[in-house]
């Protein structure tokens, strides 16, 4: 079994800002540690340092056992990466190198079929065998059957972009959990997974004997799986040795202790300064006091050189003001609506003020339904209409806004768009500050973290004066605090909310549930339904 030991790690950003300083913790053998912190606090950077992608400016990382890493982007792969390539990339270094050699020699053999390239190819194949490549292929077969329901030979050339986000994640997780690496770093492993997928993940993480360090914002997953919580905040990290249930209390107690230590330090500092001043005056009148004055000066200098204890980390303040407005009583009406090829026709009435959770199987058409209501082109039959004064505002799941990529939040707010008036710079900055985005106001949208992009989208919804919020997995990239702020904002929103979500914690704040079943049936439920199986389609 393996462990990870992080010792006094320091990392500075390219702009000179210290992101992490004196970060030390240990994830012992067989531990399941959650890494939490606000968006942008440095969780992913810390994982990259542990994974060896980044070299820390100071400090060291010690670990035993092979290291398997699942990056955050898995689930949103849209390039031409194949299933085979991803499985190779998730393998131990020896297998990866042997695979690259086989590929290179195969290409060389296609170009020049001479004795030398044939021997090189034979040699590469032998090394592939020695590195455990054939065993790996057997494992990959088990992995693809478990994750996709098809053997490796049938899907190895398939592009990841043809798989759903959940399928991509599950494929990677199966590969890592069944692979030989004993330490796993998982960056948001639950993103894109539906609830059965998340429950599966929880069970697998609970039963694995591997050492796991994972980043997650899913409060349910954190509560069930983590046996300790590493928090990145205030430029450093600290460890809560218990589970998530006692985490909030531990964090509050720590913040109070830090504040108390700081207060005592400030008091002592002031007392020493006052003493130095008094002795300075006395020394001017009495040479006997000069020695005491110098001694006190030295003591103050030493005290200041030792420095104050760390400050209490600033609380992230996110204040969302989703206003909305009174609309017609019937906000959404659907009659015999069917999104072509996705479901059976259904009727639905949603009233002003309803909070509707849209739940159900992956691939059952939930996101398409929201896009249709948002006014986008989605093939369908049957009728649907929005009520009087209903203005839809849409929050997209994958933040697919290519036109925003190179623009800054301030620029986007300043220009406005149809249905959303522009804001002058001062008001734009004030709005960004309320969303904890003041620091990101001038950076291109594409360089913002997933959580920052999500918060910015909610800000745009606020500005657009929407009275019907259509939210597709809004909490997926939000840290715990931002998710709680969004829940509060939605509770105060004067209008109607439809949200597709797999966040069990978030779903509890809704009062009606529309479930898209795996069998194509759309039905209503008073309680959240999370066990619809995924839709089976021909592969």
């Amino acid at each position: 079994m393996g462990y990870v030991d992080v010792s006094a790690v320091r990392h500075t950003l390219s702009d000179g800002r210290v992101l992490l300083d004196d970060v030390s913790f240990r994830v012992g053998e067989g531990a399941r540690a959650a890494l939490v912190g606000e968006n942008g606090a440095g969780k992913t950077t810390l994982l990259r340092i542990i994974a060896g992608d980044l070299t820390p400016e100071a400090g060291s990382i010690a670990r035993t056992g092979g290291l398997g890493v699942m990056r955050q982007f898995i689930g949103s792969v849209r390039d031409d990466t194949t299933v085979q390539r991803m499985l190779v990339d998730l393998s131990p270094p020896a297998v990866r190198e042997a695979w690259d050699a086989v590929e290179a020699t195969e290409l060389a053999l296609m170009e020049t079929d001479d004795e030398r390239s044939q021997m090189a190819y034979a040699d590469a194949l032998a090394q592939w065998g020695d590195a455990g490549g054939y065993d790996a292929e057997v494992t990959w077969d088990t992995v693809t059957v478990a994750a996709l329901g098809v053997p490796y030979e049938r899907c190895k050339y398939r592009e990841l972009s043809t798989l759903s986000g959940g399928e991509q994640k599950r494929l990677a997780l199966e590969a890592l959990l069944r692979g030989p690496d004993e330490v796993l770093l998982l960056d948001e492993p639950d993103n894109y997974l539906d609830v059965p997928g998340k429950r599966w993940l929880e069970e697998r993480l609970l039963e694995t004997r591997k050492t796991v360090l994972f980043v997650s914002h899913d409060r349910e997953l954190l509560a069930r799986v983590a046996d300790r919580v590493v928090t990145v905040e205030g430029g450093t990290a600290w460890v809560h040795g218990g589970g998530f249930a006692s985490y909030h209390d531990a964090r509050t107690a720590r913040h109070e202790r830090l504040a108390e230590l700081r207060r005592r330090w400030d008091e002592e500092h002031q007392r020493l300064i006052d003493l130095v001043r008094t002795l300075q005056q006395q020394a001017a009148n009495s040479p006997d006091m000069a020695n005491r004055y110098h001694a006190m000066q030295t003591r103050l200098a030493k005290f200041e050189a030792a420095g104050p204890p760390p400050e209490r980390p600033p609380e992230q303040k996110v204040a969302m003001r989703l206003r909305g407005g009174r609309t017609g009583v019937r906000a959404v009406t659907a009659e015999q609506l069917e999104l072509t090829g996705l479901m059976q026709p259904f009727d639905l009435e949603i009233f002003y003020g309803d909070r509707v959770g849209v739940l159900g199987a992956n691939g059952a058409g939930k996101s398409h339904f929201l896009r249709l209501l948002a006014g986008q082109t989605v093939a369908h039959t049957g009728d649907w209409r929005l009520g009087a004064r209903v203005v839809p505002g849409f929050f997209a799941q994958t933040h697919a806004h290519p036109e925003w990529q190179d623009r800054t939040p301030v620029d986007l707010l300043w220009h406005g768009e149809p249905g959303r008036p522009g804001l002058d710079r001062g008001r734009a900055m004030a709005a960004l500050r309320r969303y904890g985005l003041a620091g990101a106001g001038e950076q291109p949208f594409r360089t913002m973290s997933g959580g920052q992009q999500a918060r910015f989208q909610i800000l745009l919804l606020e500005m657009s004066g929407s009275t019907l919020l259509l939210l597709d997995e809004p909490t997926d990239n939000l840290d715990v605090l931002s998710a709680e702020a969004l829940e509060e904002a939605l509770a105060a929103f004067d209008g109607t909310v439809l949200a597709v979500t797999h966040d069990r914690w978030f779903a509890r704040s809704f009062d009606r549930f529309v479930v898209f079943g795996a069998d194509g049936r759309v039905y209503e439920s008073a309680e959240p339904v999370f066990d619809e199986t995924r839709v089976q389609r021909a592969r």
Partner: protein
């Protein structure tokens, strides 16, 4: 402990290569072909079993072609 080297005579990768190459190079006669194929088989000893027939046949064909040039 001595490693057991499989007999190359009964090796299917050798037999199939000899059969095919004998048809391809009828002028050479069986002896040189058998010798070249068995040498190739020995040299490729570390290769994975599944890949051996193809590797042996390709290498032997290459060497026979060069010997005729």
């Amino acid at each position: 402990m001595a490693m057991a080297v499989p007999s190359t005579v009964s090796d299917p990768s050798v037999r199939s290569a000899i059969a095919r190459l004998s048809r391809e190079f009828p002028d050479l006669g069986p002896d040189p072909i058998v010798l070249v194929v068995r040498t190739c088989r020995e040299e490729l000893r570390g290769s994975p079993d599944g890949a051996l027939p193809e590797l042996v046949e390709r290498l032997a064909r290459q060497r026979l072609r060069v010997s005729l040039d």
